[in-house]
Each structure stands twice: as structure tokens, then as C-alpha cells.
């Protein structure tokens, strides 16, 4: 027989070991994300008594008492409404500003183009705590303090780099020949955009909008600093973190996490494309 067998064994052992490590790491990362969500789910769907007991159950009782308590808690629904309003406003503004920027970046060459792209990315480099106090002062001076619009402005700034980047990659995926073809067939620049480009990028723009919504929905710090009466849900929960009962916190966390999870899952294809992964 050949002498290949003893030489082959160490290689396949190494490969097997490597595969085990790979699986362990993947398992660990999934657990890191899924276990807290699992606990959230279990405790949300349990009665308030079960939540406060020890040891904890591993299976939810499917009791909606916690959720109803949550809904009736003073100020909770108002905070939820505020979150939705701010996120919706953020979504609209970031698309209205970000999409034309993405189009310009993909179609035109202008002086300062590279600097512009860098600057857009750099806005995310500033830690929000640094900016929060000066922002609060400025907002109080201009009367934007404690308004939905004021907070939405801040959130739009946070969401804009993503809106610009995603729309930039969307528009770059539409060959310019399609627009040029429309121009030769009787379209102006605008009607070519509406009739040819828009139908093709609509799913992507929707994904970009949803992503902006989620960024605003999850945002805690600016919401906590810049609002007092009109708190969003994140700020509200933060405010009540010490004093609220346990089952309330779980229910609140559940309400916060699940929509964001669902939305991001729905638009994952476009986020992957933005980050360069092909996932068909």
C-alpha cells in the first residue's frame, strides 16, 4: 500500500479540530445574541409573580399579565407613540436628504467628492455623549428642546451616513445606459429617473428607510438627554430603570427589541449588499 495514509491523518485531524473550533465560535456568538432574547421572551410571557420568583422557569407560561401591566403603566403608551413618531420622521428626512446625495455620488464627478464621502462617514465617529450637552443647550436656545422634530433631527444625522451609503450602492447598481436610453426615447432627466430608476430601486430605498427607522427606534442617549416630557420609549425605560418592577422592564425590553429584529431581518439582503456579501 502507499505511505500516504500516515501522512494524511494529521492533516484531516487538524481539519476536524479546526472545524470544531469554528462550530464552537459560531455557537457561542449565536448564544450571545439569542439567550438574552430568549430570557426576554420567557419573562414577558409570564405572569408578574413568576418573573419575580426564583428559580426562573425555562418555559413561558404564556401569561399576558406582564404585557397588559406594561400597556397600562402611566406614560408608557405615550412614550411608545413618541418613539414611533420620531422614528417615522427620521425615516422620511434621512431618505429625502440621503437619496439625492447617494444619486449624486454615484452619477456625478465633482470637486470634493472624496472629501464629502469621508465627512459623511466621519459624522458617526463623534461620540454622542460629547455632543449631547452642547446640543441640548442649542436646542433649548432654539426652542427645539423636548420636541419630536428636534430629536428626529439628531436621529437623522445619525442615520444619514447609512442612508447615503445604501442609496449610493443602489444607484451604482443601475447602469447609466438605462437612463441614457430613456433620454433618447423622449424622457427628461427627471422623468427618466421616475420611470426607469425609481421602480428598480424602490425595494432598496424601502430597506434604507426601514434601517433609518430602526436606528432612531433604538437610540437611547440623545433621546434621554434631549427630551423631558415627550420621552421616547427608550428614554422612558431608562428613566424608570431603578424604580420600575422587573416584569415591566422585561415587557419594555421585549417591545423594543422585537420590532427592530423583525425589520432588520426583513431588509437583511440590502444590508448584506451594502457590506459586500452576496446572499441570494
Amino acid at each position: 500500500m502507499t505511505a500516504a495514509t500516515p501522512a494524511g491523518r494529521p492533516a484531516s485531524d487538524a481539519r476536524r479540530a479546526g472545524r470544531l473550533v469554528y462550530l464552537a465560535v459560531v455557537g457561542l456568538l449565536c448564544a450571545w445574541v439569542l439567550v438574552p432574547i430568549y430570557f426576554l421572551l420567557v419573562n414577558t410571557l409570564s405572569s408578574p409573580e413568576a418573573v419575580n420568583n426564583f428559580p426562573k422557569a425555562f418555559w413561558p407560561e404564556f401569561d399576558l399579565a406582564s404585557l397588559t401591566f406594561f400597556a397600562q403603566f402611566a406614560g408608557m403608551l405615550k412614550a411608545l407613540t413618541n418613539s414611533v413618531l420620531v422614528a417615522a420622521l427620521t425615516m422620511v428626512m434621512s431618505i429625502l436628504i440621503g437619496a439625492p446625495a447617494g444619486y449624486a455620488l454615484s452619477r456625478f464627478d465633482f470637486p470634493g467628492k472624496a472629501a464629502f464621502r469621508l465627512l459623511v462617514m466621519l459624522t458617526r465617529a463623534f461620540p454622542l455623549p460629547l455632543l449631547a450637552l452642547p446640543l441640548a443647550v442649542m436646542f433649548i436656545q432654539t426652542g427645539l428642546d423636548d420636541t419630536i422634530f428636534g430629536l428626529a433631527l439628531v436621529h437623522t444625522t445619525l442615520a444619514l451616513p447609512f442612508a447615503v451609503l445604501i442609496t449610493f450602492s443602489l444607484f451604482s447598481g443601475i447602469p447609466i445606459e438605462l437612463e441614457e436610453s430613456a433620454w433618447t426615447l423622449g424622457c427628461t432627466r427627471l422623468s427618466a429617473f421616475i420611470k426607469v430608476v425609481l421602480p428598480l430601486i424602490l425595494p432598496g430605498i424601502t430597506a434604507s428607510a426601514i434601517f433609518a427607522f430602526v436606528i432612531s427606534w433604538n437610540e437611547v442617549f440623545a433621546a434621554a438627554v434631549l427630551t423631558i416630557e415627550n420621552r421616547t420609549l427608550t428614554a422612558f425605560l431608562l428613566q424608570n430603570l431603578d424604580t420600575s418592577p422587573l416584569h415591566l422592564k422585561f415587557a419594555g425590553g421585549f417591545i423594543l427589541v422585537v420590532p427592530a429584529l423583525v425589520f432588520i431581518f426583513a431588509v437583511r439582503k440590502y444590508l448584506f449588499a451594502m457590506w459586500g456579501i452576496a446572499n441570494r
Partner: protein, 347 residues
Amino acid sequence: MAEIRITYAAKTFGTYTALSDINLTVADQEFMVLLGASGCGKTTLLRIIAGLETASEGEVWIGGRRVDHLPPRERGIAMVFQNYAVFPHLTVFENIGFGLRMKKLPQAEVRERVERTAALMHIEGLLGRYSGELSGGQRQRVAVARALAMEPDVILMDEPLSNLDALLRLEMRAELKGVLAASRTTAIYVTHDQVEAMSLADRISVMHGGRIVQAAAPIEVYRNPAAEFVAGFIGNPPMNFLPATTAGAGVWTVAGVPMAGPTADRATLKFAIRPEDLRPADQGLQATAKVVEPLGAHLLVTCDVAGHLFRAVLDSDLVVRPGDVLTLAPLPERIRWFDPDTTLAIA
């Protein structure tokens, strides 16, 4: 009237000169081919005519109107792009009818024109499909049908056949020629394939380095190339060149053989003859065969003539082996002479 006239046009992109000194006239209903290698400026010129680029200098006239300040939709043109640019979110019917709808034509006329043009391009069965469901050849037909349905004054085509496989290209070439001749539209066609140019054109404009080197009928460009570049670009295999030294008035020595040539006040000239214009004879150029390719229809022999590469296309019945020395006589009326300094032809 859809005559096209371009006068003294030039185009620079920053420091790069894409086109210079372009003067071109295309007669009404003429099929003009812009032929050249990649980067010679032919697509830039087509896009300037279409209105997708603006010339840095010069004027563009279509049908007696000056159009260089007009957008593409007001020039009376229709364009077929190299990658077809068929709209993926519309059906074939909606694609072909797109320009007609933009013109706000009545629905009945849109339907009639779309169906007629689709029948012309043999795609009447595909009207309900989307471009993702079509093959490359079918998409190309949709692109052509979409341009023809507009009934434009001028149809512009940017290498429409270059993305098709060889057999399909052959079929589509013949079809295109028939369809465009029947539609009686002025056409400008860009290609790097000289066979396509020879087969389709009423006139060919050979372009090189941003200039038009020669604009003439295909057979004229083939028989009487105006410059060495044209002689080497047209024809497969290309023209042979040999240096010639003067041996008296009107007589030149080419590879040791005296040939009758033009009277020129020069010491050297370039002698040129096409491979298929050579015949085995008793007197002529001494060619040592290096490679013999029996191509079926004829015999392609790559030879050495006085140290120069020389090709001959001979009858397929001839028996030639590498190392054989052939005596090849050029057909006198097919010999061409070029000035070695300017590379231009000498009459």
C-alpha cells in the same frame, strides 16, 4: 431630410484629446459605419451625435437643424446601446412602446407600431415577457425594435452585435442590414469588427487616434486605403508591406525585384500588396514559406521575403511545404504605394 453633418468637432476630457478635427457628412438614408480599434474615439463621436456628450468644439447638424445644444430627446434620433439597455421592470411590449408612450401617441397606434416592429424583428411571440426571461439575442432584437418603433430620422448603434456569439452575430448582421435598408432611415453604426463594417456599410469612416483617416465606400477603403493604418486594419489577413528603393524614374526595387511605380522625388517608398493579390509565376518576389495553413477555402502561407514577414493567400490545390521557395508576382493594378514618413498613400 435626415442628413447629418459634423463640422470641425473636437472633444477633450481634461488633458486627454478624444476627438480632433472631425468633419463628417452622412447623406440621407445612408448607412455609415464608424470603424476603428478600441479607444479611437468612435463611441465618443456617436454619443456627441446622440447628445449624450457635448463636443468641446464644432457643430452637429441633423436634418438641416443645428442640434448641438439640444438634449437627445429633441434630436430625432433613436439609439441601440452595446448592452441593449432593455428596461428590466417592463415587458417587451412596454419596452418597445416606451418612446411612443412618451410621445403621447394614441393607444391604438402604439399597439400597431409595436406589433409591426416586433414582427419585423421576429419577436412577436415575446411581447409579454420580461427581459430577465430573454436570451442575449432576443434582448438585442428588443433593443433594435424599440429604436425602430420610434421611426426616427437617424438610428445610432453602438456595437450592437459585439456581445453575441459568432453564429448569432452572422445571422443578426444579415437581418439588420435588411431591416434597416427597408426602413430607409439614416444609420450610424459603430464597430471594431472590420468584417461587419465591410458587410453593412454604404460608407466606412475609419478612425484612429481621434481622427477620421478615411471615409469611403467599403470596396474603396479595401482597394485604395488612404493610409498605412487603414491598409493594415482592413482585410484579414492584412496588407503586406515591403520597403522599396528608387531605381530610376518610375522604377523601384522591392526585395531585389524591379517594379513599376509612381514618380516621386524620394529615395524610399513603401510597397504594399494584399495577400490574395499574389500569384505564383516565373518572375516575381522570392518568398520562403515558413508556415502553411490549409484553411479549406484557400491556402494561407506565411513567408519570409528578404527578411520581412509576408503572407500569401493561394489556391487550396497548391502543394507548399515549409522551406519551399515560391516566386510570387503581384497583380500590377492592385499594388499600392505609401510614403514612409507620412504613412499616407501615394496615388
